[in-house]
Amino acid sequence: MTGITIENLSTGYDKADVLLDLSLTVKPGTITCLLGSNGAGKTTVIRSILGLTPPRRGTIRLGDTDITGMATHKVIAQGLACIPEGRRMFPKLTVEENLRLGAYQVSDEALIRARMETVFETFPRLAERRDQLAGTMSGGEQAMVSIGRGLMSGPKILLIDEPSLGLSPLYVKENFKIIDGIRDQGVTVFLVEQNVRQTLGIADYGYVLSGGRLIAEGTAEALKASPEVHAAYFG
């Protein structure tokens, strides 16, 4: 099992700094969450790990491998997968093609098929709609495709960016149960969310981000009672 170590990360777009001297650890085999309100810089942390927004300073490591500034496809080759914010379907590709792209770096056709069957077992709805264009599906169904696609590469580490965004409470509950199950299969999960209560319900450890800085960290239990968490959201 592999974890993520971020040390003294600073990132920005143009001249504005978005993240300031951020250090955090995602321990192998855990669900570690990063909480924060809109604009706190959560997605930028994900983009930095993926190599989409190269950091100005600091290092990011997966296990013992330094991935700071590495091209995205090489980061993915380290065993990382991402379920991006807003699901990001390929709307004019079928459900099956979307899932196949999740396993783009897998060359073993039998393995791809086996993983697709596993996804279909988790989401029987997708099996019925495998030939449907993803863009014509409902938000909840697209979320299923997005989660399934994130699992197709058989990742060691999964980054999940705001899975609850724009979904009905029923789907949110369902998805969090699935994320809980992903961790139980030995996948390290880094979960970025606004939804504090649901997230701390499944997370092992958490960080709170506000204005590009970490303002609190601790076990999920400790964060539930933490005044900083309440301040960051309601203060």
Partner: protein, 306 residues
């Protein structure tokens, strides 16, 4: 009109349509993956034709005279060489300018096209004069009533259509094609899937440029002549075909190519004015179609690419 003549026009129309479609496919692929219009595309086609012609001269020089071997080698060298040139243009000219306004890329590729054209005119031996392209395909003919079926026409039609079907299969049935379509729809998410974006862009430019070179060789074999300015009209026709069909859509480009060839053929034979007006007629209809369907016949919806 008698049926034999009609068959001849149909064969000519299909050959021209295939050529135009192959050029249009390039425009549509480039626009799909990179949102750019590459105006040097026609001149890259010309470069492909001259590469093939040079390969022919080389074969003659070393004494390879079998026409089948010649046509095969000429085509392979032209397609492979031009595919490489296309990838180099993408790597060193188009990709570095990705963040620039689209108008700049359009202008720069327009200038690149002029540079390629002038370079061939000035530096290719006797480059300002047309070159007689060898008739490498058998010209045996069978008389079917009034219709003379020529072997070279049949071969051009068959191979041209096979290349178009091959491109369709490549884009829609292979892992590479899936990656190209993914990049066209959402570049960033494609990267997150582990797709090497730069590689896909280079391969796409190689495919489009190779297809243009193939069209250039077809053009040479069909008219038995190539010249440094041949890319101007072919590029413009390919671009119009891609736009009329719906830029970004592979089938739109193919449809547009055949439509333009049909218009030219109709303009040349069925209308009451001289055949010299065929391009005027065809481009006039293109203008009318654009006024009627501004986004092309197969309209691109917001995220519909390739």
């Amino acid at each position: 009109m008698d049926i034999g003549l009609l068959g001849q026009y149909l064969a000519n129309g299909i050959i021209l349509g295939t050529m135009y479609a192959l050029v249009a496919v390039g425009f549509t692929l480039f626009f799909g993956v990179l949102d750019v219009i590459k105006f040097s595309h026609g001149d890259v086609l010309m470069l492909g034709a001259f590469t093939g012609f040079t390969a022919f001269l080389g074969l003659e020089f070393v004494g390879v005279t079998d026409p089948w071997v010649q046509v095969l080698v000429v085509t392979l060298v032209a397609v492979a060489g031009t595919a490489f040139i296309g990838a180099v243009i993408a790597r060193y000219l188009v990709l570095p300018l990705k963040a620039a306004p689209p108008l700049n890329i359009l202008l720069i590729t327009l200038m690149l096209g002029t540079a390629i054209r002038e370079a061939v005119r000035l530096f290719y031996p006797n480059g300002s004069n047309p070159k007689p392209f060898p008739a490498l395909l058998p010209d045996a003919s069978t008389d079917l009533g009034n219709f003379t079926l020529r072997a070279d026409s049949v071969i051009l039609v068959a191979v041209g259509l096979a290349v178009i079907v091959g491109l369709h299969l490549l884009i829609n049935r292979t892992r590479l094609g899936l990656a190209i379509r993914a990049v066209a729809q959402d570049e960033e998410t494609a990267r997150i899937m582990g797709i090497n974006y730069t590689m896909i862009v280079l391969v796409t430019f190689a495919i489009g440029s190779g297809a243009a070179a193939f069209a250039g060789i077809m053009n040479g074999l069909y008219y038995n002549e190539i010249n440094f300015g041949m890319g101007l009209l072919l590029g413009l026709i390919g671009f119009s075909a891609a736009i009329v069909g719906g830029l970004g859509n592979l089938y739109g480009a193919i449809l547009g190519g055949f439509l333009f060839a049909a218009l030219q053929t109709i303009g040349a034979v069925a209308l009451p004015f001289a055949s010299a007006y065929k391009d005027v007629f065809a481009f006039g209809v293109v203008i009318a179609v654009m006024a009627w369907k501004p986004t092309g016949l197969i309209a691109e919806r917001t995220s519909d690419r390739v």
